[in-house]
Symmetry: C2
Subunit: 157 residues, 2 copies
Amino acid sequence: MKLSRHSDYALRAMIQLATSGDELVSIRHIAQTYGISHNHLMKIAQGLGRAGFIEPVRGRHGGLRLARPASEISLGALVRHTEGEDSLVDCTGCLIAPACGLPDVLAEAMQAFLAVLDGYRLSDIANRSHMLRALFDIPTSAGPSQNAADPVQCPAD
Amino acid sequence: MKLSRHSDYALRAMIQLATSGDELVSIRHIAQTYGISHNHLMKIAQGLGRAGFIEPVRGRHGGLRLARPASEISLGALVRHTEGEDSLVDCTGCLIAPACGLPDVLAEAMQAFLAVLDGYRLSDIANRSHMLRALFDIPTSAGPSQNAADPVQCPAD
DNA sequence: ACATTAGATGTATTCCATTTGAATGTATAG
DNA sequence: CTATACATTCAAATGGAATACATCTAATGT
Ligand code: SF4
Ligand code: SF4
């Protein structure tokens, strides 16, 4: 009973996009932020784009941005998309399938689970707080970060 | 977001035990009923025994039976045991872990999920109905089943 | 035009957890 | 004592997720 990494990566990307406001953020940048697979995240971004959660911009200086304000994106819808809405059990071949009451109960429990998530929006977990902005190293508005630990694009690279 | 087969197998065993009343049912028999791995089910039975859901009886003519009436066994407790109560996501190494609000939301959703299961007992999904008893081929009280499709322990085996 | 960047898509490989299998020990009824 | 059935441990196999690789399309600056 775990959320797939696929789902969490999607959430991570959405959080970063929400915190970045209207700025375009490249998939490569997000992948580097979390230290996760660039290719994997790319496929996740495809899915998010097709589902209408994000708006991809191609070409040089392209990137991703939220398709709607974070306050209008439901966590339930996101998880429904990334996890799929299929049943929690696969009863094919089970002897007692015709008489088993378990699938109904599990479906009800799953609905309750998603109902809670439906009560939250992306903006609830990704407010554009200083803390998140600092973690993402997003300049607030007074120029780039002066963080000493910042690699700062070594020119001799 | 699927229930592990481990959990479903545990539920299957519990359903069969509930339907079998006070009779001892061997692990081998349950495994054959569902056509699943004997070894795997044995480990699941160990866990159920240690958790106090079932009462194992060793030795010749041994087997398993419910430790308590099916009406006193909560599905929530069962799933909590088989799935473990650990978090849905592993945040170790995630950059934004200190500022992320997602784990709290997921925990709340999980609680709602389990709350629904807590509202059901084993007896709710495994009533000793004729249908289940027939599927398990349990004699009602008037001698063994005369089902033509029954293999009936070929003596020449 | 052309090169460069960045997303889109498909395939293949690697990785890991779950599941299964096998072997051995322990307990009990007969 | 022996046959049966649960207990425990370890090794192998399976399957799905995650990653890597390759190629294409689209936008943009030069
Ligand atoms: S036991 Fe009930 S839920 Fe589990 S597989 Fe068989 S039918 Fe489906
Ligand atoms: S994003 Fe939030 S939930 Fe997902 S791993 Fe990072 S901290 Fe944990």
